[in-house]
Point group: C2
Chain length 185, copies 2
């Protein structure tokens, strides 16, 4: 319950601005109980990152490994799913990785490494899907799938930020349309 | 001096995490003097946004209106300039618009509107450059310059965030290479 509530608050406000008191209040948990589970806000943040990372990796796998669909369609399906998730929360919640990435300078030790490892993991998953697209003839043989996958996540975090700023799915659409159109065919 | 120091701190830490006291300490200005110039942190933030907006619009114009260069080269020149700027500050400082955009949910009234208007302004400047590229035959006649310009800024903010996270220019290179390669020719 604490991790779920913490995830909600951190995807909305980031790490620095999130207070433990507010998170406890949302779920009616006393401070003593919190410190039974977590030694500090820093340790709590780590648990939230692990939980979010596992949740997101699962979501990605569900779409990108769906062999019922051609590879590029799987990427579109992931975007549609993430878009629906953002709309469900009125575009107030962003991506934990993007939020914390923006705060990188002031984060506890080790957070930055976790963020980079998580993005690397997502990038590998997407690169494998793009390689399948290349093998299936959806992409040119010369396509640099690793770089394209990295560019996807770079643009994705920018698009999620803009979708929150505008409270609209439009930036996500602009991003994915341009990304897919720009792929080497 | 206050605006310059505030810009430095806000591009590093964002709005919420930035304290007036720390900013005053950097420049040796007493709190009373601060309140002589600015009614509140919110008003100070507005002044910083105006200053940053004017500075950035000027940088963009300097490159994008440089008729000595073909239009797409001007975009590359802007990226090279921004990259050098980030390197100069060891990739600790981001884009004020990206930092504040990430905090959108918790910002004072009117900040969100300013962020959107600023991004719109940058987008118009870039769209005009892309239209010149289209007229010069550097882009396909069917190119949707407005959408491509919007996609550029979406990706740009993501790339700046990643560059700070990795403390390296590599994400900016990955972004611009992929963006230029993906343009309809």
């Amino acid at each position: 319950m604490l991790i779920r509530s913490g995830t909600e608050v951190l995807t909305e406000q980031g790490f620095t601005a999130s207070g433990i008191d507010g998170i406890l209040k949302r779920v009616g948990v006393p401070k003593g109980s919190f410190y039974y589970y977590f030694a500090s806000k820093e340790a709590f943040g780590r648990a939230i990152m692990e939980h979010y990372g596992a949740y997101f990796a699962n979501k990605l796998d569900r779409h990108l490994l769906d062999t019922q669909q051609p590879p590029l369609r799987r990427i579109e399906a992931f975007v549609a799913d993430a878009k629906a998730g953002m709309a469900r929360h009125d575009f107030r919640r962003g991506c934990l990785v993007g939020n914390l990435g923006q705060e990188a300078v002031g984060l506890p030790d080790g957070y930055r490494q976790w963020l980079q490892e998580t993005l690397d993991d997502w990038q590998k998953k997407l690169a494998r899907c793009l390689e399948e697209a290349r093998a299936a003839g959806e992409l040119a043989q010369a396509a640099d799938c690793d770089r394209l996958a990295e560019a996807f996540w770079i643009g994705w975090e920018g698009a999620v930020m803009r979708a929150r700023l505008e409270r609209s799915a439009r930036p996500l659409d602009v991003f994915i349309t341009t990304f897919l159109e720009g792929l080497p065919r």
